[in-house]
Amino acid sequence: MSASVLFDAPGPKARVRNLIYSVAGSIGLVALIAWVCYRLYDKGQFAGELWDIFNYAGIRQNIFDALLSTLKVFALAGVFSLAFAVVLCVARLSDHKPVRWVAVVFIDLFRSIPLLITIFALWVGILGDMTPMWALVLGLTIYNGCVQAEVLRAGVNAVPKGQVEAAYALGLRKTQVTASVLFPQAVRSMLPSIISQLVVTLKDTSLGYIILYPELLYSARLIANNTPVGGVYPTVQTVIVFGAIYIGLCLVLAWLAKFVEQRGRRSKAGIVPTAAEQPEEVAAPGDVAKPSDVSKD
């Protein structure tokens, strides 16, 4: 149902009313923005010197290094979590009860523990000494691996049953069925959801700030604290710049998910990818994603 179904083509009265709302809404918005800008201006945050710090080669190098370390953690965590997800998903779908139960408990447990606590516990040394980077990577891997495993499982369950039966009838073994029939289709249909979860992974790398790993956010704080200009700390400026970087990165990934989804929709292979925005915040304990949850379209 598109928004336009909810209201009629406006008549003369409604047009006037909508115009009034539009004007009032615009004025309200502009006033809000103007007020924020005024407060920023009032506190001297728009002074050129404060923004000039981004012209220093050192600061630029800092931002670049921070971006690299964020991307490094993201890449490692992304790859590891996907690999881990495949393992967990296979275990979750295993024919052996004990293996299945271990996977269920593991997935449920780590999906319900706050990611920050996992990362922090790893950092303070529950599993022995660990650099902040590996604590972050490992924490992200465990959490996102669990979420991606459930996404994959929903994809596997969405593959029509007849295909598995046909594969068995042809004499394929279970490994072959999983590897050559189920997973390729599951990955393909779940690709948009997988990428959306990667956006979450990217956002969660910012938790490195709390365990003092020098990624983007931590560097933002360092820059803000170490380059006072005339006694003023450029917190606002760095937050705006680094926020823009984060939003840019996430939007690129989200756009990729949308693109993959639309491309899949055009294809004639008969595997319909899920809507890109589904698993943004999958989190429920004991909430087992049913295939019907994910494959509604």
Binding site: L6, L217, G286
Partner: protein
């Protein structure tokens, strides 16, 4: 076991801190999310643009960055001297409101088109259509994703603890300074979070069963 019994008061304070923060920011997120979702389907273009911007910006910003803004920029520039709890509620609530708005909007989209058309045909206004016809039906599809959103919110409040808001995550600092075994501390803290998340899960199961109708 001693860690819990010796510090029962501290654990209680932390648990209530997390619970309180979760409940208040959930309410804020719910109200704001509904309003923003309303904006996004409304006939007024500036409000639609505002809703879209709100959702896209907040959903693509890491929560830690929002906390940074809330704790270091807002008190400095906009509202000096605000309580850290209110700042934490704002950060969590605003962030979650964008997810609520999206869930509500997709819930609205699942209500069959004919319903809204019928409502319009009998002369209901936009507000009436939404309030009497569309939203009550959207509620049913929105409840399951909403439970995931609020559970995620509970987990996200841990970040507030890292910014010196008193909650379950925050008390580990005091406890590890007192020299207790870090692994045991985390077991109890995790248990605290599990209690809240499972309670939310159960509550929403109940709600789902209540709202369920034979179709």
């Amino acid at each position: 076991m001693n860690v819990l019994l010796d510090n029962l008061a501290l654990f209680r304070e932390g648990f209530l801190g997390t619970l309180w923060l979760t409940v208040v920011s959930a309410l804020l997120a719910l109200v704001l999310g509904l309003v923003i979702a309303g904006f996004r389907v409304s006939p007024v273009p500036p409000l639609r643009i505002f809703g879209t911007l709100w959702v896209n910006v907040l959903r693509n910003t890491p929560l830690t960055l929002l906390f940074l803004v809330a704790f270091f920029v807002v008190p400095k520039v906009l509202f000096p001297g605000v309580d850290s709890f209110i700042l934490a509620v704002c950060a969590c609530g605003f962030y979650t409101s964008s997810f609520v708005a999206e869930a509500v909007r997709s819930g609205i989209n699942t209500v069959p088109m004919g319903q809204a058309e019928a409502a319009r045909a009998i002369g209901m206004t936009f507000t009436q259509t939404m309030r009497i016809v569309v939203l009550p039906q959207a509620t049913r599809t929105v409840v399951p994703p909403m439970s995931s959103i609020f559970i995620a919110l509970t987990k996200n409040t841990a970040i507030a603890g890292a910014f010196d808001n008193v909650d379950l995550f925050n008390i580990q600092k005091t406890l590890s300074n007192d020299g207790y075994d870090i692994a045991v501390i985390f077991v109890w803290i995790t248990l605290g979070y599990l209690i809240i998340t499972y309670a939310i899960n159960g509550l929403f199961r109940l709600l789902e069963n209540r709202l369920e109708v034979a179709r």
